[in-house]
Symmetry: C2
DNA sequence: ACGAGTGACGGAACCAAGTCCCGTACACTG
DNA sequence: CAGTGTACGGGACTTGGTTCCGTCACTCGT
């Protein structure tokens, strides 16, 4: 019999999201979160850099995207490689089972500027990962950056649509369609 | 004779940048900044929302960009309107006289994640402003968003180059060139 | 000229985020 | 049984940020 319940970080993240949804991010103290998880304040900061991070720590999605870009067929164009990464995201993290969780989380983030701030920074990290992965495919620097940026834009739009869709359409499908739209609209720029 | 020296916010911003450059952002207290400006902690927070904002408050550049997009020739394509906005930025805020100041500020920001975070959020605001301005030109939503995003990318790259250039080349020139490169690289996506 | 605002500031008390240090109880090893 | 590693708790402390109240010069109406 273990002295402590397992999965402390997971319990903290769940408690945090619950409390944020109940009373709002601002009205929730780190001590509140820790207490609901049956832990102490110190332990919270052992598992998360800061209070915001408890909503973002889940995704080490950087490597997932970079890996999918690298694993795309050699003949794939930059945007096709990016589309391959969006497929991977749809299969591993934006799954139908996680849609409710993601929607709740997104509602909390949208309500607080400091959380959108953190989200923006995470997004920069994703773009950087994809840019690097594209460069490693031999694609020129600027082209890599442009493709990654367009992919991130498509992902953001698809993410918004997917988290609110009622048809149960898969993230990958939405993302593919949005990415095609983006590609088409480039012609009018 | 006035009771207080004028331009409190400006003095605070200067004191802050000086101190950040001297001893680093983390080793500088809000009280330190206020004291160097000859003011109190309370007054600092009367002028700036938080400690980070003292580095960003300067730019109400959102309206400048949106206005320049709106003022672009009616026949201009989305990216041409965006280029017009970058010209305006080069003439009003990224002027040769401010280059040293901008470079010092950028060095401070680059050194701290929480400042890059704030910068990322500000960038989202700029993109939103330009997107709206493009929509008001009658350009479709997605096309507006794509053009604004590409413009922001070009601005970021141009900004990096301009803040380190030794030739004295103007921001507008660099931005125009980068934007052309971006446009060209879109063909390979 | 005089009293009543008004506006920009200072100071102290206060709360929550985040850090540090040290102590504790269990598990695992020899 | 002794030693070591590990995950946690708690309390003291610093700093960012808020709130409340007081102060002093300037201004305006009468």
């Amino acid at each position: 019999m273990a002295r402590w319940e397992p999965n402390a970080a997971e319990r903290l993240a769940e408690a945090a999201l619950d409390l944020f949804a109940e009373r709002g991010y601002e009205n929730t103290t780190v001590i509140d979160i820790a207490q609901r998880a049956g832990l102490g304040k110190t332990t919270f900061f052992r598992h998360f850099q800061d209070k915001r991070e408890v909503l973002f720590g889940r995704g080490t999605i950087d490597e997932l995207l970079a890996g999918a870009v690298a694993a795309a067929p050699p003949a794939a164009t930059p945007l096709e490689a990016v589309a391959h990464a969006l497929d991977a995201a749809g299969e591993e993290v934006f799954t139908p089972a996680r849609r409710d969780f993601v929607a709740r989380r997104q509602a909390v983030i949208a309500a607080r500027p400091e959380l959108r701030e953190r989200e923006a920074l995470k997004n920069l990290g994703l773009i950087a990962s994809m840019t690097d992965a594209l460069k490693r495919r031999g694609i020129p620097d600027l082209t890599s950056r442009v493709a990654a940026e367009l992919g991130a834009l498509a992902a953001t739009i698809a993410y918004e649509q997917w988290s609110q869709t009622t048809t149960g359409e898969h993230f990958s499908q939405i993302a593919r369609r949005v990415l095609d739209d983006v590609r088409a609209s480039m012609a009018f720029c």
